[in-house]
């Protein structure tokens, strides 16, 4: 029969429409919109009705590996002073594909020798391609990829050292699994070094 295919197609769209309301009825009493469970359910293997998420009221939680614009990790000592983990070795600047990282190495005013602390650190965020290579190859866990993707601005986004710096606690908050792994690796390395120092 001519037109059977079209009717079938219309049936499929009608099913999508009806399932949405059936799901709403099944979820009566629970919060289906604006709650994390609701978002997860809509896109799960069980979800059959509506799929969309109402951004910006609802936001899909980002996974740990999600990467967006690097930041510099700093530690805070008991006096409240910031210590950047960065040693200005320049590996991130060398590996950066669009070459958007600019580092000025600082040197000791007395001897003129370079010291492991960047005097200036810039990332041209308009050029950054979010590839994550800097974070991947940094040997000191000093530069990491951020989770904050809401960065729209009217001007040119060039971030300096101050704007790039974020505390260790923030890093451990957004990437708990990776941070734990790295801390364990660093502790193991320290232990080896301590053992060697004793001998």
């Amino acid at each position: 029969m001519y037109g059977k295919g079209i009717l079938k197609s219309l049936g499929v769209s009608a099913r999508h429409f009806i399932e949405t309301y059936l799901d709403d009825i099944r979820w009566l009493g629970r919060k289906r919109y604006g709650s994390p469970e609701g978002i997860v359910h809509r896109a799960s293997k069980k979800g059959r009705g509506i799929f969309t998420v109402q951004y910006p009221e609802e936001k899909i939680p980002v996974p740990e590996e999600f990467r967006f614009i690097p930041f510099l990790v700093y530690e805070i000592n008991s006096n409240g002073e910031k210590f950047y983990r960065c040693t200005s070795c320049g590996i991130c600047a060398k590996v950066c594909p669009p070459q958007c990282i600019w580092i000025v190495r600082s040197s000791d005013p007395a001897t003129g020798r370079p010291i492991p602390d960047p005097a200036e650190f810039y990332i041209d965020a308009d050029i950054c391609m979010n590839c994550g290579l800097c974070a991947e190859y940094c040997p000191f866990d000093a530069i990491k990829m951020d989770h904050n993707y809401e960065l729209a601005s009217y001007g040119r986004a060039i971030f300096n050292k101050e704007m790039l710096g974020k505390p260790v606690a923030y890093y451990e908050g957004i990437r708990p699994v990776n941070a734990a792994k790295e801390n364990a690796a660093r502790a193991a390395k320290e232990a080896v070094r301590a053992a060697r120092a004793e001998h």
Partner: protein
């Protein structure tokens, strides 16, 4: 992995005495053909030796040796390794080499590209115009002595970034933007500048005259700003009434000279750039490039990494085909309902990419000798849910939704036919080739990675029309689901990277061609290293670009309204077409 066997059991040098010499440079393979005998050799290659499919044509500028080289990769559509042959010429402006379009029409766009970017003039080419650059562009940018605006150094990393990285912005260096050069005698402000004259002339010349009433022909431009061209792509058509008499694709609006950027980059830096080629299937792009460089470095990949690579590549294929089906249906007039149903499933695949690779589309997941990181804890569970339960069900629904729909069938069946012979002649690849009854799939024809371990069928359809090109994508999705299911079951434990991760890889001198069956067709990366940190030559055999060679012939005789449908069924992504 098989390398291209020299001579292939056939003693080619004895068959073509005086014409052919083996390429003996260290790290190189294949044959060097005498320039004067190129056409003779190519005809014999096709007719006697059965290499009926000319996959890739590109040029290389050997500036220190004062030579230019044209490199051809030919294959048999029955499968097996390919044959590489090269023609060398003195480096001058322009270099002249005979065109192979009369023997392999699939070389048409690729030869135009080599002319545009390298200044190699192919004598006997029917329509040798610039293709990616515009007419007012001075020079040939892939030549090694050509320098781009804001040029700093021949290769990255740039010395200005560290240790004295005082930031300078490009707009401060040249605030007036007056660094544009024009070729001699070209001034857009003076005199009459008609950019499209050559294009329209070519359109008029390529029309076939037929007997009958002489009628007026009109030229219509579609694009570059048109929602159905899938990006900034332009089609110039000559019409007789509503019927298409001849058609030329016009591209380059998204050109950024990916290959020049690639030659400035180090080997590793290119990896995220490949994501931006066909941005709907970045994992496959990574795959092809990783294979090409690994071939040069001669490193093996751990088993787990191979499984992860195959899983990711197949997921990409599914995501791409869903997008292709959705976009095709949009072009047919099913405004966004099928597109959004397809996007739902694609969204879930992208969620997996995001969890594994860190980004939804610009995955940057592959590394030389493995992958960047292992699966996070819950990812495998997500993949299982999707591939064993949700996706098969949803694909069946999509099938039910569309395949029997009378409108889809009426618009698709018998329209935009590409015959099997033409598909081979025009070097069509991927679903386009297989919908025309040629069961050629690189995963089977020359298995790479671990594809020889999986059970899957090469999808093939027999009519070569729009409907078959739609159906074959559904078939391929089902086969990819099968592969991922097998890969999930067989996923071994172990390392994901051979050796230590390095940011500066050592690549021995030589050439290599890594090709994979991308979602859009054969995706090849031709890489030449001279032992330095940056590749000497980096060429992408882009399926979306080469598939467009067949676009004109497929549309001739169709109605103007079918152009968008035919284009939608080819499935192009402008990031890859224009590179």
């Amino acid at each position: 992995m098989k390398t291209i066997a020299r001579g292939n059991a056939l003693d080619l040098a004895a068959r073509f005495p005086g014409i052919l010499t083996a390429d003996a440079r260290p790290g190189y393979s294949g044959w060097i053909v005498e320039k004067a005998h190129l056409l003779e050799f190519a005809a014999a290659l096709r007719d006697e030796l059965g290499y009926d499919y000319l996959s890739s044509v590109t040029g290389v500028d050997y500036l220190p040796e004062g030579k230019m080289e044209v490199v051809y990769h030919a294959y048999r559509t029955t499968g097996g390794p390919g044959l590489v042959f090269k023609v060398q010429a003195q480096r001058q402006d322009p270099v002249e080499v005979s065109s192979l379009v009369s023997i392999y029409p699939g070389a048409e766009l690729q030869e135009r590209e080599a002319w545009d970017l390298l200044g190699i003039k192919f004598t006997g080419h029917p329509d040798l115009r610039r293709i990616l650059m515009w007419e007012g562009f001075a020079g040939h940018p892939l030549r090694k002595d050509w320098k781009e605006a804001y040029f700093e150094e021949d290769g990255k990393p740039l010395k200005s970034r560290w240790p004295e990285g005082k930031i300078v912005q490009a707009e401060d260096k040249n605030p007036f933007g007056d660094n544009v050069a024009y070729p001699d005698g070209f001034d857009p402000d003076k005199g009459k500048y008609e950019p499209d004259e050559a294009l329209y002339k070519a359109l008029r010349e390529s029309q076939q005259d037929e007997a009958g009433l002489p009628t007026d022909r009109i030229i219509v431009n579609m694009g570059p700003q048109h929602p159905s061209t899938h990006g900034v792509f332009r089609v110039a058509v000559m019409l007789d009434g509503e019927t298409i008499v001849s058609l030329k694709p016009v591209m380059g609006y998204l050109h950024r000279n990916h290959e020049k950027i690639g030659e400035r980059n180090t080997f590793l830096m290119n990896m995220p750039y490949t994501d931006r080629l066909d941005y709907l299937s970045s994992m496959s792009n990574n795959f092809g490039y990783a294979l090409a460089v690994e071939k040069l470095m001669q490193i093996a990949v751990p088993e787990r990494a191979d499984y992860l690579r195959v899983m990711m590549a197949e997921m990409t294929r599914i995501a791409n085909h869903l997008m292709a089906i959705g976009a095709l249906l949009n072009d047919l007039g099913a405004y966004f309902t099928p597109m959004l149903y397809a996007l739902e499933e694609r969204e879930l695949l992208l969620d997996i990419f995001e969890a594994v690779a860190g980004s939804r589309m610009m995955c940057n997941y592959f590394r030389f000798g493995g992958v960047a990181r292992d699966l996070p804890e819950d990812a495998l569970e997500k993949i299982k849910d999707l591939f064993f339960e949700r996706l098969p069900r949803q694909i069946d629904e999509l099938d039910r939704f569309l395949t029997e729909n009378e409108i889809v069938r009426a618009r698709g069946i018998g329209q935009g036919v590409l015959t099997a012979e033409d598909a081979i002649r025009y070097s069509a690849a991927g679903p386009l080739l297989r919908a025309s009854a040629i069961p050629y799939d690189v995963r089977r024809a020359e298995p790479y990675s671990i594809y020889d371990r999986f059970e899957f069928d090469v999808a093939v359809r027999s009519h070569g029309d729009i409907y078959d090109r739609f159906m074959i994508r559904l078939d391929e999705i089902r086969q990819s689901i099968r592969i991922v299911q097998q890969a999930v079951k067989g996923l071994p434990k172990g390392p994901i990277q051979s050796g230590k991760p390095q940011y500066q890889v050592r690549v021995p001198a030589g050439e290599s061609y890594g090709r994979v069956e991308g979602p859009k067709g054969e995706l090849g990366f031709y890489v030449i290293s001279n032992g330095k940190p940056n590749p000497w030559r980096y060429h992408v055999r882009a399926p979306s670009f080469i598939n467009l060679t067949a676009f004109g012939p497929m549309c001739v005789g169709q109605k103007i309204a079918d152009v968008v449908a035919v284009l939608g069924s080819i499935d192009i992504v402008l990031g890859e077409t224009d590179r």
